[in-house]
Each structure stands twice: as structure tokens, then as C-alpha cells.
């Protein structure tokens, strides 16, 4: 974990309201886990809380990493307006538990299910898996055509099978990722998922076979991002205690947490 004023190398609109920001800095060398996130300070003094954004990809040789974020409020709007050459204050990488991309065997059936801006950490996971020779199936859900991003990038990964679902059917198949998941029939050995809470609940309901090793990346409003303030907790499945999403996660086995 480092605190660094990273250089914005690139910041571009890649889909409706969705930006891809490339950051360079020494903390890139510490990034190793898909699911890890950066806690990004918003330019301007009035917003005191940092914004957690998942790492979408990392280029260790080039010393840069990529975030993909949607402009949904005051903070992401300002980040969207940043220019290459600007610097942004970043704390990270954060999160001690990511997607276990080192574990699947090449023959395993690995399925990634992502919705909207839940897609970025899955892309990082897919890159790592592909790098290890594991082929993955990906189901991505978006509201509509204009919201889709990274379809090509996924397709370019060796052995990556990509299915796009849109709510309005304007691209790919009309329907939710759950429908695609159910249509698929066979239950995967590994299931990595990230997206809106409702989608994650539906995935859990639809997909958790005893032998499926399912992992989910969670979101919650954060303060510190490092585990001291206790803002970002989620209940454990048995409701007996809490996990800190920022530190214990943000990725958890489906079985561990209550969605």
C-alpha cells in the first residue's frame, strides 16, 4: 500500500458516461491481485472522502494501470474531467483478498459474470487467467448498447468466450446475465462475479452448486479504505459477525458473506 500522486496518462470516454483512466506511478509495482482497488482522492478540497475504484488492468512493464469508472456523482464527475498530465492522489493497492486467479487448472470451467461497472475487476481477472492458459467464459450485462465497454478486449484474450446481454436487447441478447447463466446449463467449477447487489444475489441463487467455487466482489460506502473506520462492513453468512470489505475483501467466497 502506497500513497502517491499518480500521473494521468490517459482519460477517455469509452461508453456512455464511462471513462477509462490510465495511471502511472510506482505503486503499480505493488498491484498483484485482481479485485484490488485504488482509493482515489477527488480533486478539490470539499470532498473529503476518497473514491474506491477497482483496478481493471495493470501493465507492470509500462508502470501503469487502468481504471474504468462511471460518472455517477460529484466525485466521479470530477475524475471524468481530469486531463492527461494531471495528477491524482491515490492510496493503494487496497484489499487483501482478490479473485483467486492462481488456483484454477487449465481444464477447469471458469465463468465470469459481470454487470455494468462491475466488469472492470473481472477483466483484470480474465487477463491473469488467460496468461496462465486458463480459458474463461464471460457473461457481461449492460443496460443498452451505448453502455457496453471492453467487449473487444475480452474477445482478444486467448480462449475467452464472451456473451453480452442487454436489458433492452439493443445489442447481444436481450435479458439479464442470470438468464444467460441459466441457459448455459452446466455449473462452472469457478465463478467470479461483480456487479450490482441484486445481480449478485440472483447469481448466488441461480448458481451455487456445492462444487462451484464462487467468489464475489462487493461494494459499500467507504471511509478510510484500509480497515480502521469500520464503515464498509458486510455481514457474514451466519450473521454472527462482520467483514471489512476494504481490507478483508473486496472479494469474498459467496459462502462467507450475506448478500
Amino acid at each position: 500500500m502506497k500513497n502517491e500522486k499518480m500521473l494521468i496518462v490517459d482519460n477517455r470516454l469509452i461508453a456512455a458516461g464511462t471513462y477509462e483512466m490510465t495511471l502511472a506511478g510506482t505503486l503499480v509495482s505493488e498491484i498483484s491481485r485482481p479485485g484490488a482497488f485504488l482509493h482515489v482522492a477527488v480533486p478539490g478540497e470539499d470532498l473529503v472522502l476518497r473514491r474506491p475504484i477497482s483496478i481493471a488492468s495493470v501493465d507492470h512493464e509500462g508502470g501503469s494501470c487502468t481504471l474504468i469508472f462511471k460518472d455517477v456523482g460529484a466525485g466521479t464527475e470530477r475524475l471524468a474531467r481530469c486531463h492527461p498530465g494531471d495528477r491524482v492522489d491515490v492510496l493503494g493497492p487496497l484489499g487483501q483478498q482478490g479473485f483467486p486467479v492462481d488456483e484454477p487448472y487449465a481444464a477447469d470451467d471458469v465463468l465470469l459474470i459481470g454487470g455494468g461497472v462491475g466488469v472492470p475487476p473481472l477483466y483484470y481477472a480474465a487477463c491473469e487467467l488467460a496468461g496462465r492458459g486458463v480459458s474463461v467464459s464471460v457473461i457481461l450485462g449492460f443496460q443498452t448498447t451505448s453502455a457496453i465497454f471492453y467487449e473487444e478486449q475480452f474477445r482478444e484474450l486467448p480462449g475467452c468466450d464472451v456473451r453480452i446481454m442487454t436489458d433492452d436487447g439493443s445489442y447481444g441478447q436481450k435479458g439479464t446475465v442470470i438468464e444467460a447463466f441459466e441457459e448455459r446449463g452446466k455449473r462452472p467449477d469457478w465463478l467470479f462475479s461483480c456487479g450490482p447487489r441484486g445481480m449478485l444475489r440472483a447469481v448466488e441463487k441461480a448458481g451455487m452448486h456445492p462444487h462451484t467455487k464462487g467468489y464475489v466482489s462487493l461494494e459499500e460506502r467507504m471511509g478510510c479504505g484500509v480497515g480502521v473506520c469500520l464503515a464498509c462492513v458486510c455481514e457474514t453468512e451466519d450473521r454472527s459477525s462482520y467483514r471489512k470489505i476494504c481490507r478483508d475483501g473486496p472479494v469474498f467466497p459467496f459462502k462467507e458473506v450475506l448478500l
Partner: protein, 308 residues
């Protein structure tokens, strides 16, 4: 880390290398920030509010953002006094930094229990009674808004404590000086102020309060002028040591609090925006003393009062 004698301050139970400590609830029990810097740099450490038994706290969302501030409604999630004594304090013992143990409860007996459990911990230098937590329904804040209740609680705790006792005052009151005087009369060894101000935010999309708890405590730079005013007022009625807090972000802020009348300061919310806030300020203080032409930081205390 260099020790600078011009920064050393001694408060009851808290021999501090410098007047800076992280504020309660904004540093947990030190483990996480210990990965970032050497905790030995700190003057003291105020630990997370501790209750008699473990608490799970409130449902999420527990934080919301406000202009130059934030609301929190954590609800005192903590492992309970025994957990703190057995699991957390030993870790902090590896550092040469006194601990200010923040104590919370619903009933006076709970405060007394916590203090009994922690008072013999070797690194607990003093207690800080959180009589002002706005985020738990059953009590806490009641002791902070009624001078008689605050005094009574202080007395009961003083009876069992072998360490000095600070009382942390609530800003959600008509007259903070009345509470300050009451707890001084009851034997408090020092004061901490301020805790958070009650606030809320409502989300126009969901049409519900942003916080699951509906309301929360406002902290951060937004409350700084209110903190300074309360400290300024309390300093006119008592000579007790004061630990000041509320929106401190920079070395300049620390100087401003000193001038208003504090003996030491605590940094809360600023840790979240800048995890190095405490060590950075500590390292900048010597240069500020030179700039101000002051031989020792304690000479600033209360120097900002108008000569009326």
C-alpha cells in the same frame, strides 16, 4: 524519527513526544496505519470507543459525504473491553506511545466495567469518556447533554480508575461550558472536544436518509470553526488540559487549535483522506515553531484569546 524537545507536552497520564494523536474511531487499534509508518512518531493514540461487551454496530451505509465533511454512524462496533485488553492493547505495547482508551456505554455501570477491565493495562495512560456518541440509541449522548448526568458518570468512573480520566464533550448542546464545569467539579483530569455534530443527508433518488441509521455524526473541516469556538469558550472557564479535535487537517490547523487553548490535538477524519496526516504534521511542526518565534509549543496555548 527525531525527538524534538520543543514539541514534548505532558498531559495527565500522557507523556507525549508531541501534541498529536489520532482521534478515537479514526485509527482503530493502530494495526493498519502501522503498516504505513512507525507509530512511535505519534504523541499518543486514542483507540476506538470500547464498550463492556463486543458490539456489532449499525447496518450499512454507515458513512455519507457532506461539503468539507462526512457523516458517520458506525455505532460503536468494537470487540468489547476484554477483547481490547487481550487482543489489541498488547500489539500497541510494542510501541513507546501512551494509549488514551476511549470508553463508551449505555449505562454508567458499563463505563465503570470497561474502565475496571482496562485500567491495569500498562500502556493505557488515561481514559477518555465518550459521553457524546450520537450513533447509538440507548444512552451515551444523554450523559453528554446533561451536566448532572455527566458529573455523576465522571465521579463513578474516577472511583475505579487508577488512570487519569478525560471527558469527551458533545457539541450538540446549548452550553458546552456548563458541562465542562460540571465534569471538572466531579474530578475530571482533562477534557476532549469536540465529538461529532448530529447531521443527516437525504438521497433524492431513494428518498431516504443516506445512512441506514438515518442520522450520523458530522466530522471533518466543516466543523472546525465550531470546535474552535467551543474550545475557546471552555478555555475561559477552566484551566484543565484540553485535547482539541474537529476538522484538523494541517499544521496550520494545529497552531490555530493551540491558540484557541488546547494542550494537545487529535486528528480524526483527515486520516482517511491522507493516511500520513499525523506524521506529516508532526514533521512540519518544528519549522512552524521557528516561523512563529516560539521556543516551545506549549507557549502557544491559549495565546489566541482576545485581550478583553
Amino acid at each position: 524519527m527525531m525527538r524534538d524537545p520543543r514539541l514534548e507536552v505532558t498531559l495527565p497520564g500522557l507523556p507525549m513526544k508531541n501534541p498529536l494523536m489520532p482521534a478515537s474511531g479514526c485509527f482503530a487499534f493502530g494495526r493498519e496505519y502501522a503498516e504505513l509508518y512507525d507509530l512511535n512518531e505519534l504523541g499518543a493514540i486514542a483507540i476506538k470507543g470500547t464498550t463492556g461487551t463486543a458490539r456489532l454496530g449499525n447496518p450499512t451505509p454507515r458513512v455519507a459525504e457532506t461539503p468539507s465533511g462526512m457523516l458517520n454512524a458506525i455505532g460503536l462496533q468494537n470487540p468489547g473491553a476484554k477483547g481490547v485488553r487481550d487482543e489489541e492493547l498488547p500489539f500497541l505495547e510494542t510501541y513507546d506511545v501512551p494509549v488514551l482508551a476511549n470508553v463508551s456505554g449505555s449505562r454508567p455501570e458499563e463505563y465503570v466495567d470497561v474502565v475496571k477491565t482496562l485500567t491495569d493495562a500498562p500502556n493505557v495512560g488515561a481514559f477518555e469518556l465518550n459521553i457524546s456518541c450520537p450513533n447509538v440509541k440507548e444512552g451515551g449522548i444523554h450523559f453528554g447533554t446533561d451536566p448532572a448526568a455527566a458529573a455523576e458518570l465522571t465521579k463513578e468512573v474516577k472511583r475505579v480508575s487508577t488512570k487519569p480520566v478525560y471527558v469527551k464533550l458533545s457539541p450538540n448542546v446549548t452550553d458546552v461550558t456548563a458541562i465542562a464545569r460540571a465534569v471538572e467539579g466531579a474530578g475530571a483530569d482533562g477534557l476532549s472536544l469536540i465529538n461529532t455534530l448530529l447531521g443527516t443527508r437525504i438521497d433524492w433518488e431513494t428518498r431516504k436518509p443516506v445512512l441506514a441509521n438515518e442520522k450520523g455524526g458530522l466530522s471533518g473541516p466543516a466543523i472546525k470553526p465550531i470546535a474552535l469556538r467551543m474550545i475557546y469558550d471552555v478555555r475561559q472557564v477552566t484551566d484543565l488540559p484540553i485535547i482539541g479535535m474537529g476538522g484538523i487537517q494541517s499544521t496550520e490547523d494545529v497552531i490555530e487549535f493551540m491558540l484557541a487553548g488546547v494542550d494537545a490535538v487529535a486528528v480524526g477524519t483527515a486520516n482517511f483522506s491522507n493516511p500520513f496526516a499525523c506524521p506529516n504534521i508532526i514533521r512540519e511542526l518544528p519549522a512552524w515553531l521557528e516561523r512563529l518565534g516560539v521556543e516551545h509549543i506549549r507557549h502557544l496555548r491559549g495565546q489566541g484569546e482576545a485581550a478583553v
